[in-house]
Symmetry: C2
Subunit: 269 residues, 2 copies
């Protein structure tokens, strides 16, 4: 990709700051590109639900994905209206069925995460009771490396600012959706929201992420019945155990032509 | 540090999993060390407040630091009892003054973060109204590099598992406290909790972290009047702006003998 195209892709998502760069004894004032972080407030049925800190782009996808991950929404036909208002830093969501929401809001335990905005309203124990996935997706190791390389190539905001994570949904051929965000959870939620918006089936897809694989990332993907999760980073004990139980193939440390398969290696041929 | 000592430091914080390691056309079953992720529930005055996902170590520090960061506790004399119960994955905290807690719990907005468990009960706007720090700490660039090198040297759990962030409190001479955790927010909260427990003044100290510098990390440190925040990773626009306003020196991309100073470079001599 040429430099001009890079500029277009990263525009509005980063800004220049005057900084002091120190290199050994050398000290100079230079301009540096810093990723934009902004608050996004989600209103659900007219009430303020949560304020996320995020890369302010595709906020409709982020809001929807967040609501899906937290268990407020399962399918798009439950959503009556979705109104992103980027200038005001908010998204309004109206659900078709408004009864039962109060119970959802106050009946669930507050769960929050190691790193990642976390699942705030979701009960992790519910997820542990999820049924194992039955999908039989298979994909070659060479294709995993290729798709992961594509993820890295597309990560232009990361290349310029170093301050974001990326996530992508892929089929066995190519990356379908791609997002970058200051939060690794947000990046995955944007993918989830885009799938909902477009009615994309996820049971036969793979999730690629640049971030560490904690239990929360695994549970987000499990709710979408995603069979394969791939990262260049490390997993945790809990994510490996959940992947084993839920019949998900969990891959970490994908770099160059290497990878560690932590569970269900039969999907990688 | 010799191998035996490393084992002692990382014991109980990681466990071996059987994995399939793929390297080009080679495929082998090997053992791999994975960092342990476990839930920690904080009970405040007998009520369940929150469940964090964390590295289950120094859970008393984590609970205290979390309560400090979220605005439930300012000083140790507000804490009547602190009972870590690691086997059950919980910490019980009793406050001296129990009135007003309900208001705190339900009157505050739910704020959550890009990446990092985030400030769930804290109102970010309150923080923006914080008074700028007045401290005049100065430190040499050489010392910043040295302390950052020490942080990396101590990060044994990261070296073995790749799945954690580290944080340290330093004076102008040496690292005083050091923690690793699967969450970058947790690692910083453990530092904050340890300062509270030991009555350590923080106004004259620096915070070192391996994680990205989002606004939430900056605000956590600002509440402790920490004048200098250093990371090998990138800052966000909002953290740079807050650091500028609050008179905090924010340093990112510390690597070898390089660094980027994003605000108030006069503290680095």
């Amino acid at each position: 990709m040429v430099r001009e195209e890079e500029k277009a892709v990263t525009a509005g998502r980063m800004e220049e700051k005057s900084i002091t760069r120190v290199d050994g004894d050398l000290r100079e004032l230079v301009g540096d590109q810093v990723v934009i972080e902004a608050p996004l407030t989600i209103y659900l049925n007219g009430s303020e639900l949560v304020t996320l800190l995020c890369t302010p782009e595709k906020i409709d996808c982020l809001a929807l994905g967040f609501l899906r991950s937290e268990g407020f929404v399962i399918a798009m036909d439950e959503v009556q209206a979705l109104r992103p208002r980027p200038e005001e830093g908010l998204v309004e969501v109206e659900l078709v069925d408004q009864k039962g929401l109060e119970e959802k809001l106050f009946g669930k335990r507050t769960i929050t995460s190691g790193c990642g905005k976390g699942t705030i309203f979701y009960n992790v124990l519910d997820s542990l009771r999820s049924a194992p996935l039955t999908g039989k997706l298979k994909i070659s190791a060479a294709r995993v490396w290729e798709l992961n390389g594509e993820l890295q190539k597309k990560a232009l905001l990361f290349k310029t600012t170093g301050g974001v994570h990326s996530a992508a949904l892929a089929d066995s051929e190519k990356l379908l959706y791609f997002h970058e965000d200051i939060g690794r959870h947000n990046a995955v939620d944007k993918i989830i929201g885009e799938c909902l918006l477009n009615g994309t089936t996820t049971e036969d897809k793979a999730l690629f992420t640049s971030g560490r694989l904690s239990s929360e990332i695994l549970l987000k993907a499990a709710k979408l019945k995603i069979q394969l999760i791939v990262s260049r980073a490390a997993p945790t004990s809990l994510s490996v155990e959940l992947a084993e139980t839920l019949n998900i193939t969990l891959i970490g440390f994908v770099r160059g032509r290497r990878m560690n398969i932590y569970s269900h290696p039969w999907r990688i041929i």
